[in-house]
């Protein structure tokens, strides 16, 4: 594994940064030298000497070319540096993401994590493409210009530099109060968006209860709040703007007058005075930027820390061992497994069961009963808080995770299709699958006929921008993917959402085919589909309350029986 971390990539591309500084220096020096030549020409003019234009212009043309090249190089170096570093950072983030513990993703929420990542990456890009180059450039400029000014008049330079700390202090004060209001503004806009979404989601209720005016008033109230806040913000913003102008202006006036004094005392020539005036802007602007940098650095730091936090998250733990599979071992076994989230919420307590080769197992129970968590444990997404999970007689922690997962195929409830073609999505099941294999899997999954009706067939694009597939179709594509993987253990999470009868039969049929000859564990939401299961475990509040075949459980007349009766009642309605 290459070292591609943040510090690694900065080291690797540091030379670009050094070149950037060099070009910045050359460019500033060109400007300084040009001003110096103008100063000399002015002096000569005042002394009454006749100037030979040609003699004056040739070095100037030379300077022009050097300046243009330096500007070119500087820009190129800057962009290359930031581009390379950004690319490296993004790559290392992706490499980290696929290795993160699933539980971290689950608890942070992929949506929240995504939002954070997008905005943080954006910030970091800005850090490398804007802030860092600007800081370096300004630093180089300040130093170079100061050195030259010092040669003109040390005292004038001192006066200039002394005048500026006032600026920093004032500007800082204002930005701080502005920062608070900006935070409030962001919250208000979030509120506005949330209320608008709320209104939009609830449109059925809104329409049927004639809530148009009331909902409009809710939005109006927030908009008023925004305007009020903006009013305060604008006034402070204006003050800081005008103050900024004044503090930039005053020192300049003072410098003008002081320059006049210096010239009157013959400490300085009129040409030097002019050069000084021309360069003053070059010095003032970077100096004025310093307070902004302080603020930006504070903001970027937050983003940087958050990214680093993600990069520092522990990787998914994986054992090293690759075990032989023995025929007579239990395929899966849970021993007194308990699980709770990091916030202490307990989801599973004392779960034990084992699954033998070729068995068809079903997990049933209401939502929140813990059956999905069991599935996640079996996938190796979660580690039990206590107790043991075993596959073929070896603890999950001993297994090499990749090998372990090669034994598993998953048909999950929320089928996620990656952007790409249908064929690609199915082919994810097996590395290097041929088109024939893909089609064969799709036939078994009862989706081939449908795919053939699409104009582009297997090359139809899916995902956010591609064709809209129904839940049932996605489900069958994911079954085809699982078929292609041909793993001995199959984990299935039945879809909860209702599909029409025909589609359901197609799915059922596909599931029957894929179950053949495999060990299958199903989370069932409709009890009618699992009556043939070898063993049914009934979950309630993180416990297994009953187990047995459909027949035994019905005779028991317990929790399962109650669930079953309720379902039949609903079905008949």
């Amino acid at each position: 594994m290459k070292k591609e971390g943040l510090s690694g990539s900065i080291k690797k591309y540091g030379y670009l940064c050094v070149l950037y500084i060099l070009f910045s220096y050359i460019l500033t020096q060109v400007v300084v030298d040009g001003s110096n030549r103008i100063a000399q020409a002015t002096d000569a003019l005042f002394a009454g000497e006749t100037l030979e234009l040609k003699k004056f212009l040739i070095p100037f043309v030379l300077l022009m070319f050097i300046g243009a090249i330096a500007a070119f190089g500087k820009s190129l170096m800057k962009n290359s540096f930031s581009l390379n570093v950004q690319t490296a950072i993004k790559n290392s983030i992706v490499q980290k993401l696929v290795r993160l513990e699933y539980q971290y993703l689950d608890e942070t929420g992929t949506g929240a994590l995504m939002n954070r990542l997008i905005s943080d990456i954006y910030e970091i890009e800005a850090l490398f493409s804007e802030l860092i180059p600007s800081v370096l450039m300004d630093f180089v400029t300040i130093v170079t210009v100061c050195i030259y000014m010092n040669s003109l008049s040390t005292r004038l330079l001192l006066v200039t530099i002394v005048c500026y700390p006032v600026l920093f202090w004032l500007a800082n004060k204002f930005t701080r109060s502005l920062g608070k209001l900006t935070g409030k503004r962001r919250n208000l806009y979030d509120d506005l968006e949330n209320v608008a979404l709320d209104v939009f989601h609830g449109i059925t209720v809104g329409r049927s209860f004639n809530l148009y005016k009331i909902q409009n008033a809710r939005i109006e109230k927030i908009i008023q709040g925004i305007l009020d806040n903006e009013y305060i913000r604008t006034r402070i913003g204006m003050l800081s703007l005008v103050m900024g102008d004044i503090v930039r202006w005053m020192p300049r006036l003072m410098c003008y007058i002081f320059a006049l004094y210096e010239t009157s005392q013959q400490y300085m020539s009129i040409g030097s005075c002019m050069a000084y005036v021309m360069l003053l802007d070059r010095l003032v602007r970077p100096l004025g930027n310093v307070p902004n940098y302080l603020v930006s650095i504070r903001e970027y730091r937050v983003s940087l820390l958050r990214l680093l936090e993600i990069l520092k998250q522990p990787n998914e733990k994986s054992g090293e061992a690759v075990f032989e599979i023995h025929e007579n071992e239990s395929v899966l076994e849970l021993q007194q497994v308990a699980f709770s989230y990091t916030d202490g919420q307990t989801v599973l307590k004392d779960i034990s069961f084992s699954v033998e080769r070729g068995e068809q197992i079903a997990l049933v129970g209401g939502s929140g009963s813990g059956k999905t968590t069991v599935m996640k444990l079996l996938c190796g997404f979660y580690q039990p808080s206590s107790g043991k999970c075993q596959m073929y007689g070896h603890d999950y922690q001993e297994w090499n995770l990749e090998t372990l997962r090669q034994q598993l195929a998953l048909v999950s409830q929320n089928v996620f299709l990656f952007p790409g073609t249908i064929a690609e999505n199915v082919a994810y099941g097996k590395n290097g699958a041929t088109r024939e294999e893909v089609e064969e899997a799709c036939k078994q999954a009862n989706i081939h006929a449908f795919i053939m009706t699409l104009p582009q067939g297997y090359d139809t694009l899916v995902g956010e921008r591609g064709a809209r597939l129904s839940g049932g179709q996605r489900q069958r594509i994911s079954i085809a993917r699982a078929i292609l993987k041909n793993a001995p253990i199959l984990l299935m999470d039945e879809p909860t959402s209702a599909v029409d009868v025909e589609t359901e039969q197609l799915i059922q049929d596909a599931m029957r085919k894929v179950s053949k000859g495999r060990t299958v564990i199903t989370i069932a939401h409709r009890l009618s589909t699992i009556q043939d299961a070898d063993l049914i475990y009934v979950f309630e509040k993180g416990h297994i309350v009953e187990s047995g075949t459909h027949k035994i459980l019905m005779e028991k007349n317990g929790a399962y029986c109650a669930l079953y009766q309720k379902e039949t009642e609903e079905r008949s309605a």
């Binding site: 003019l45 004056f56 820009s75 209104v199 449109i203 209720v205 049927s208 109006e220 802007d281 996620f416």
Partner: protein
């Protein structure tokens, strides 16, 4: 930030559009500004005042410099004569300018914000008045991202785009006045140099724009990959796709880097050219200066003042070049905003297809509450969801609709509520055809309990109050009690003031249903339209919900979309679809 950076940023901002035109659509701009109403004049005056004040401020400073430079060649003793007065004058004038600028800034910013807020207000209230079809077919996230993105950009025109073009134009003209006064020959040459620089830069705009459009496509696909990776993490892990996914991402990233590299090259060229031109400008300035001074056409102090003003003028001129293309792209967003605002709204009346507005009596005379006669309906104009459907619901009775999903049960509910107009047939309410009532009147007659009870993200009391906006707290509590909701509400930390969270997330399914029932109880409409929940509740909360429903159904005409046998048993008539 260098010029090319700003340019890239502006290009990138434009890049999200598929088609890019650099022509400014004046009609759109005018309509947008017109929406500010009287605020527009304040807004315009403020921009003009800001431009004049700011350029006057620079001019004052330049003239002080001129004065100071002139003194250098004076005799020793006279050098400081009257300087104090001049400086004082300059400071006063400068402060005056800044004060005007500050006032202008406030007026301008507030008008811009008001305009933006107004646009937002108009957008949101439009979004609430669309035909129901829109909500059935559009994903809310899509709406928020597309429409609100466009409106955000349109607001940007008020906030900055308009000023960023107008102000530099005005300021350039303002700078030219004192410059021409100081020396028109030099000024003319300098202006020519700046203008050719502007021209040069505009030539770069087109290739840079097309390039950055392509790049931004790659860039957003990178982000998309990242989010797909996260969303599909389960599959990635189980199918061992880590390496594949990372490799694909790294490849895409590499492609982006390659594309960006040529972009960097282009922008580096532009930077080099600009820098060269800037130096060329100063060279021209010096050469001309030396020439004119030696001819006694002008003086060194005039040249110094011109030089100071020239810097500001040149910078402002380039701004115009940057922001005109970006204005064009912002206007394209505004155009979409207007298309949205001009789209059709839900009409006040339901459309009917017979010309009779007669008052018809039901089969049982006056007693008919709701009647549908030979109603057909289709969403897309092709497949009929309902075909020649008739039903007559007498006052005070309970009718249950039964049938598999997709047979049109929910569609009937939507027709009854006036969300859609029927394709063929007639609907009657209290013996009159539907088009005798406004949609609002129809909806006032019906208390609706949807299948998935939607709760707004406000307090529990507020959610119930939506049934009857002027209800007192006592009435709300009474309704909650009838709906078996009072007890659990009192168990909440803040009782009735408890916020229910996004979509009512802080409450369980049964609790949400009971609040929806309380809302319908409070509304006290003569007709109850009930879409039963399919999701299973535990026995206790199911009992509470059923009890509440029974109370709600008393003395009302009820239409139930039934999913439970117990409901069917209670109905006076069952209609199978």
């Amino acid at each position: 930030m260098g010029y090319s950076d700003v340019l890239i940023e502006q290009c990138g901002a434009n890049a999200t559009q598929e088609q890019q035109s650099n022509r400014i659509k004046w009609r759109i701009l005018w309509r947008l500004l017109h929406m500010m109403k009287s605020g527009f004049w304040k807004y315009l005056v403020a921009i003009i005042a800001m431009s004049v004040a700011l350029s006057a401020f620079d001019t004052v400073t330049a003239f002080l410099l001129k004065d100071i430079m002139a003194r250098i060649s004076w005799e020793q003793g006279l050098m400081f004569d009257g300087l104090g007065k001049n400086v004082l004058l300059c400071v006063l004038a400068g402060l005056c300018c800044l004060a005007i600028y500050g006032v202008g800034y406030i007026v301008y910013t507030m008008e811009a914000k008001r305009g933006g807020a107004n646009l937002q207000r108009v957008m949101y209230s439009k979004a609430m008045r669309l035909p129901f079809m829109y909500y059935d077919t559009t994903h809310s996230g899509e709406f928020m991202s597309k429409v609100m993105y466009d409106s955000g950009r349109a607001q940007g025109i008020y906030g900055s785009r308009f000023r960023r073009i107008l102000m530099p134009c005005l300021m350039v003209s303002c700078y030219l006045v004192p410059m021409v006064y100081l020396n028109w020959q030099v000024t003319l040459c300098l202006f020519g140099a700046s203008a050719s620089l502007l021209l040069l830069n505009t030539m770069f705009v087109v290739p840079m724009q097309s390039m950055s459009q392509k790049l931004s496509g790659t860039h957003s696909s990178l982000t998309e990959r990242l989010s797909n990776l996260l969303a599909g993490m389960e599959q990635v892990k189980i199918f061992g796709l880590q390496k594949l996914m990372v490799d694909e991402y790294v490849d895409a990233n590499e492609r982006f880097r390659k594309g960006q590299r040529s972009m960097n090259m282009l922008s580096a060229c532009l930077d080099g050219l600009n820098q060269g031109f800037e130096l060329l400008g100063s060279m021209v300035f010096i050469a001309l200066g030396i020439f004119f001074v030696s001819k006694d056409v002008t003086t060194v102090e005039n040249l110094a003042a011109i030089y100071v003003l020239y810097g500001s003028m040149s910078w402002n001129l380039l701004q115009v070049g940057i922001y005109i293309p970006s204005m064009a792209s912002y206007l394209a967003n505004a155009e979409r905003v207007f298309a949205f605002l001009d789209s059709e709204e839900e009409a006040e009346y339901v459309e009917m297809h017979s010309n009779t507005k007669d008052v018809v009596k039901g089969e049982r005379g006056e007693d008919s509450c709701i009647r549908m006669e030979h109603v057909s309906f289709s969403y897309d104009g092709e497949n009929n969801i309902l075909d020649d459907f008739s039903v007559d619901i007498p006052k005070g009775k309970c009718v249950a609709l039964k049938g598999e999903s997709g047979k049109g049960k929910s569609t009937i509910a939507k027709l009854l509520l006036g969300f859609y107009s029927v394709t063929a047939g007639e609907m009657y309410l209290n013996g009159k055809t539907y088009d005798n009532y406004t949609r609002e009147q129809i909806r006032n007659q019906i208390g609706y309990v949807p299948q998935e009870p939607y709760l707004y993200n406000v307090s529990i009391a507020e959610n119930i109050r939506y049934g009857k906006p002027d209800a007192t707290l006592e009435e709300i509590i009474e309704a909650a009690q009838k709906a078996n909701a009072h007890d659990f509400i009192m168990r909440q930390e803040e009782g009735y003031d408890t916020n229910v969270g996004e979509r009512g997330n802080h409450l369980s399914g049964g609790e949400k249903q009971r609040i929806a029932i309380a809302r319908a109880i409070l509304k006290n409409a003569p007709i109850l339209l009930l879409d039963e929940a399919t999701s299973a509740l535990d026995n206790e909360s199911e009992r509470l919900v059923n009890e509440a429903l029974e109370r709600l159904m008393q003395d009302r005409t009820t239409i139930v979309i039934a999913h439970r046998v117990s409901t069917l048993n209670r109905a006076d008539a069952i209609i199978e679809l």
